[in-house]
Amino acid sequence: MNTPTDLQRQRFRRPLRPLPRGLDAWADAWIGRHRRRRKIGMEFRVAAESVDRFHLRFRTLEDAQLRERISELREAVRRGGHPGRSALTEALAAIRESARRRLGLHPVLEQLQGALALNAGCLIEMATGEGKTLTAALTAIVWAWSGRPCHVVTVNDYLVERDARDLAPLYRDCGLEVAWVTGPMSSEERRRAYGADITYVTSKEVAADFLRDTLRDSRGQARGPAVLRGLHAALVDEADSVLIDEAVTPLILSAPKAHPGLTATVLHARDLASELVRDVHYGVDTARRELRLTDAGEEAVARMGGGLSGLWRSPERRGEWIRQALVAREFYQPGRQYVVLDRQIVIVDEATGRPMPQRSWRQGLHQAIEAKEGLELTPPTETLARISFQRFFRLYGRLAGMSGTCRETAAELWHVYRLPVLPIPTHRPSQRRQGADRVFPRSKDRWESVIDEIRSVHATGRPILVGTRSVAASEEVAARLEEAGLPFQLLNAVHHREEARVIARAGERDRITIATNMAGRGTDIRLGPDVALLGGLHVIATERHGSGRVDRQLFGRSARQGDPGSSVAWASLEDELLRQNLPHPLLEALSGALSHRLPLADFAAVWAIRLAQWRSEREGRRRREAVVHADQWIEESLAFTEGDGND
């Protein structure tokens, strides 16, 4: 039975305040700095120690007694709404004991500390392998006990399913029902999954479900009841990836919609574009992926008037279509950005090499690429609803998150999501040896050096993980290793499950695993027997990533939980990162200095890489800022329309 209060609860979302601007933003940044000051971490530490003191009291209980105690505590927490400190302390201790019995994992002090910080709405930074998943579970239980649905958000369907399955015994023991939502599920299955106390889901799925619900709301109840039960609480795993990296592009719900004349226009543009010559009619900046018509090009476009629909006749429109046709020709290559499957364009994720069906590029571009490949044009899609992740996650009543690396973006996380970042120390001191970056002027020399390194480390029997930035790079390494006659595992364009299996075995003796940086996220690399004695896992980053965070994630795969391990990064001055972000003359000079082995050249090269990373990160920050600003502008200027879930 739905009472009005229930309905209200089912539609719950936090009202949005506009982000502070100008001086307000500045003052707000200081508040954020205060909120993540070091002392805060100590307070949680003290609280965690008091949880630890309940240790023995629960250890001695029978299973049934423990379950009874837990349900008592659950009532206490539910009645109290927000659990008071003492109830919380005892509850966590009980959950901890339950975890030990059900999962065989005994949360350590640092995990308790993290759980308490999560409960307080922090974004905790825990190193890889420290047990973020379990930490999140502790908090999720406490939150779910309040009777409000709790979403645990992570990056991919595989992790969603794995984590939910793995932790299910613990949740059941605590009287909670857990479920998960993955891409292929029907809306009925989804509704059932969201009906659980705790739901594991990816950010894309939950945001899309939210948008679909909003659409249903605005078009009456014709398409069935809402799937979600309100945005009450979310714990975001891999928060940097979800809240930062993926927030560059807003989520868009779209539906195909025939547009008369578009097909003809796109084909016409393609034909006309084929008359334009590179460097005569238009200039291409490969590094920045920009294309600009020259004066001659503009003139040529101006002459190509006549005929066709309204979409073509305006010179401005015409220029846009032709530019799009040129972009499709210059920047989108089959096999790299997309593949053609069953006479359809399938987008390929450049970082992981994974094909992503059901995705399409923005209006017009997709058609332009189809036209280029000579495929039948799909009808253009019409946006039905759109929301940026920045906006979506701010709608949650309670938000907390964890990540291996988010210190770098602490200011942005506070500004946008009001999440104070709190680093949690590692349980055992890290034993990773981080080698100095090795920089080569030419990409070719770099690969040779990498192979040499692999060969010599492999001879000792240590497992090696080779991280590459793109699929193409991983294939390059594979080819060279094959040539060198070394055995290896290559990870790309396979499914998460196999990926995780391969990655999980990467710690065994004599293993060489090649993977893109993004592959196998969230999976622990456990060392095989005796490997620790050999020196643990050796991680090789063959290229610096645009963001230092991603590099740190890769390095973090070695030397987990106090194991030994080492990591080292290679780079060449021909890398995309450097070419895109540093002026050409500087690279030339560096290249000269490096090949002549001038003193300090290596030092300068390392700094150049840092500078390039800084600039690339800034560029990313700008793009996200632009998303937020565009969002805010739309909300303020089109406030007379029905919003995408802001009302």
Partner: protein, 718 residues
Amino acid sequence: MSDTSSTFSESWHRIASEHPALRPDIRIQRQRHRGELGYVLSHPYSHQFFRIGPEAHEVVARLDGRRTVEELWQECLERHPETAPGQEAVIQLLGQLYRANLLQYRGAADTEELLRRGEASRRQILRSRLANILFAQIPLVDPDRFLVRTLPVVGPLFSRWGALLWVLVVGWGMFTAIGQADALRDQAQGLLAPDNLVLLYASMIGLKILHELGHAYCCRRFGGEVHAMGVMLMLFTPMPYVDATAAWGFRERWKRVLVGGAGMIVELAVAAVAVAVWSRTAPGVVHAIAYNVMFVASVSTLVFNLNPLLRFDGYYILSDLLGIPNLAARAQLQLRVMVERTLFGVVGETGPAKTPGEAWALAAYALGSGVYRVVVFGGLLLLLSDRFFSLGLALAAIAAVVWALTPLVRLGLHLATSPRLNRRRLRATGVTALLAGGVLTVLAMVPRPHHFRAPGLVESQHWSAMHTGIDGELVRWLAQPGERVGAGQPIAELRNTELDLRERAARAELEETEARIRQALQEAIPNLKPLESVRDSIRARLEQLERDRARLVVLSPHEGVWSLPNPEEIRGRWLSRGSPLGTVIDDRGFRFRAVVPQEEADRLFASPSGHAEVRLRGDSGRVLGIRDLQILPADRQQLPSAALGWLGGGSVAVSTSDPEGRAALEPFFEVRAPLTAPEGLSLRQGRSGVIRFDLPDEPLLRRWIRSLRQLLQRRHQV
């Protein structure tokens, strides 16, 4: 926000199925600017104006509340495929209309958003008030009803007959003024005299009220409503103002221009009447007021109101005539775009100008108005701070914030954050730093030739004033004035009959005494002695008389040119002793005596380069070089000549209580330098001139800092 030219927008779904309408009370006026069609949406109550182009108008005209946005966009595409805006542009347009409160829409408004918007606009108003604090407007009354009631009386003046009358009156006034141009110019010197300031300000207020009423009536006459009139604190000086912005909604350009010019039209008519009054009254209060009114109404009108470089009437008129609304903003934008393009290499943006010529004109306007504004208001500030120290200081602080600090901070922010500079930031920052550094280096490091000037006059090195040595009647001149005389040459002859008589009496006495001496030799030897002494004294007196007699012929003490202004007038007159008989000036050697104010003396002493140049008044084309400067090391208070002081038309401040007009207000040092006359130039005693001292080259910045300090020291005793 995003690229407005793109055909499709990801946000289109937000508005595609809405049926917004334009508010029914919005009026749309068609206007033509420079041959281009434009439309002005005006809101009758809030007095807001919103300009759109014809493409946007196609969309706006279809906002009827029945069509959805999607439908009307499709309609635009079909009807005007060449010009129809893209989805993104339509979203932008609707967003702007909504923000300007011009849209009516179904469904409940987002109340919170409305409140936030109201708050933001209030804050915006406050901020613009603060930024414009030097021109703060305080609305006081709503004159509309008054204007409507009195329009039947005043209205007929705004007609063809009124124009004819105006031409007659102004013509007559100009005719009178030209006839008495000299007198007009003379009186201008007393304009800023302290006793005239109050009158001047009062006349100005009265006049400006008429000026504003001119705008108001004119605007009302053409149907624009005028709802605010009040006080504008221009540099904290209260001035009336009226809000005639309703005129912007007029369709005909000439009406808009006329409303803009109405104030000046009124003022010129008043000036003409004032000229007539002035020329027909004797000096007195009415005369003075008439003069002030005339001055303010003509000069200030031309310098301030008509001048388009400042944002007064002339600016709006020009902006309208050129058909460039928001001329100043566009000019600034153009300037910025040009700077960014040429110096920073930013591509893509072309600015508002349509032709290269227009681009240059706009940029020049932006530069010119900026410089002009700083100069004019800087000058006004200096003037004000001269009179009211603390007020001046406050104003200077505000001006520094508004005109120096804010633009600098803005420039910094622009360089640091502007997305347009994203890939040129290094170059932009570098070029700016280089330019600023270059200018600073030149100012601070590169020594520039350096001079300063001081007033002074020509004086002979050797000259003497001639006086009568004795009383007497001037019988005749022995030399002609202007004649070159030698040393000891007689110049004038005096006659003193008393002297003759006294001599004769003395001689008689001498004879008598000698006779008595002879008698005493024979008769009474003992009397001899006293008589001899009597004789000696008489002889002495005689000698004295001889000498006096010799003085009757006045001799030139030395060689030179003897001059006397009016020799014939005193011939035959009785001159008492010490009466002036002209001067003998040795024209073989002249020197220049200059008066150097205290504050410059330091530099003078510090840099004895000894080189200077003199230019004499009336012959400033010729430069007289000077070698040996002699600086009298003690300061003085008495000017060498009254001609150098204020009262004598010079530039040195003198005490008004000194009848001679020679007592300088501030002590000065005297500099003397021998002058040699070049060919064809005759040096004359007392001829005034200016001496220019060449100082060692010094960087400009150091000089400016010193002048600023001196200014503060002098004006404010800081």
